[in-house]
Symmetry: C2
Subunit: 260 residues, 2 copies
DNA sequence: CGACACCTTGAAGAGGTTCAAGAAATGTGG
DNA sequence: CCACATTTCTTGAACCTCTTCAAGGTGTCG
């Protein structure tokens, strides 16, 4: 794994404050030499463009485990790129029903839901200590007008989220419990793998209940399904540590056309 | 029964042809004097901007009932604004599972899913004879760079779709059958009402099976639920004609916190 | 008018939920 | 650092909702 010039993390002091490099250079928030750049920013930019892109990130912000990055109803001003940590987003219907709409990890962008109404429409909760890049949306807009690649990138990110949600609808609408869990594990593994982690050794950052909410099933069913997979030798489960022993078995579970 | 405001249909002659104003003025495809403009285009534009926006629409296209506007895998080039008619979008997983991801009506935009990969990732099927405005995406991009309101509008449309899908996830993930159907009917009624139709007199353009796919349940369950609502005097059903008799009853069904 | 697609309804069955209890991990405060 | 409280996870058993299978009815279109 490529070693990265570690950015001195924005100190807690800086967190949440706007646009105040503490000592001019070393603390400067910069996409241009961020190791996650390829995940959250467009590729193939000219050096000048790259430098300008740095201006998209106004500041960084730390979020402690259990704290919210933003909450339903709050004014939307910025998108957030996750640098480290793990989030869930969830919406709550009037009657107190809760639905996890996604789990997000390093390099992913959250906050897109807030654009339409200038207010956030879901909560973003850190499932482990996290740090995000704060990207004021109007600044993104300005730059996107000048840098074609950035404009297209913003469109692609939003489109990607739409497509992802189509996949979730397929999962929720037509898969049975075992298929859902298998698909969930495969998806997590694939995303972690893309970030340089093991593709078979997962540490779940969320509870069974949160998984269940996301997958549209009860926590007991999630637990039972894990146990079943473990009995079948497909995975190994010790609390939140999951090891995938037979990835193709998982894949065929997903594809086995359960209910129609 | 209120008589429905019929939109002056674009003549058959123009339909489908590319960019060929038949007599210079009257046939010109134009957003600036389209009665659906407020639904699919930004408001508050200057007259000049309005004129330029007309260039977004390259042409119109008619789609017969049952035909597809686009299909999974096809190259993505344009977004489509629905002028008349009714569509469903659906994805198909590798193993042949089918999932309806949405129903779209006049003034709504389809094709956003294709941006991320330059290919469509779902099928759009007309459920009744339809006509759409074809808006080449690169042209939208160019104009958005110059007209701030358009840029923001594009972002809002995509964000709105993301938020809509969050709602579907809530529905699929946490509602029971009766709640889903009630929510579905209310949503349809509300959207039709916003377009000047009756908010209580619906004509369903889709089959029970398509409703079921969208709501994650079997067609028989959809049918049974309709019957149940009818018995309870909440709606009246005659095939695809549904009349909402007690809208607040429907609303309380949705909010009655079924399973958690 | 007849073929076909669509819708309704019943009865049996399965998958997932609910309720409950106990075990394992995690965090807290003394 | 240990004991205790709390949260999280697992597992069992009964129950319920929705599905499945089946048959008949209704509407529509060539």
């Amino acid at each position: 794994m490529k070693e990265i010039p570690v950015h001195t993390p924005a100190t807690d002091l800086l967190a949440g404050s706007a646009l105040q490099p503490i000592d001019g250079k070393t603390m400067k928030v910069a996409c241009s030499n961020c190791n996650l750049r390829e995940l959250c920013m467009p590729v193939g930019l000219s050096p000048e463009e790259l430098t300008r892109i740095d201006d998209v990130v106004a500041t960084r912000r730390k979020v402690k485990r259990g704290a919210t990055l933003f909450r339903t109803g709050e004014i939307f001003e910025s998108l957030f790129a996750i640098r480290t940590g793990f989030f869930k987003t969830c919406i709550m219907s009037g009657d107190g029903r809760d639905q996890v709409t996604g789990f997000q990890m390093a390099g992913e962008i959250i906050g897109l839901d807030g654009i339409v109404s200038d207010r956030h429409t879901c909560d973003a909760v850190a499932l482990e200590d996290a740090e995000v890049c704060v990207m004021p949306f109007n600044r993104i807009g300005e730059l996107a007008r000048e840098i074609n690649a950035l404009q297209h990138h913003v469109h692609r990110i939003m489109s990607r989220e739409i497509v992802r949600e189509h996949g979730v609808m397929l999962l929720l609408g037509s898969m049975r419990a075992e298929e859902r869990v298998a698909a969930f594990l495969l998806n997590l593994a694939q995303r972690l793998h893309a970030r340089g982690f093991s593709g078979s050794e997962l540490v779940l950052r969320m509870t069974r209940e949160e998984i269940g909410s996301y997958l549209g099933m009860k926590l007991e069913t999630v637990s039972r399904t894990f146990s079943k997979f473990a009995e079948d030798g497909v995975i190994e489960v010790r609390q939140r540590h999951v090891r995938i022993l037979n990835i193709s078995a998982l894949q065929s579970i997903v594809n086995q056309q359960g209910c129609n």
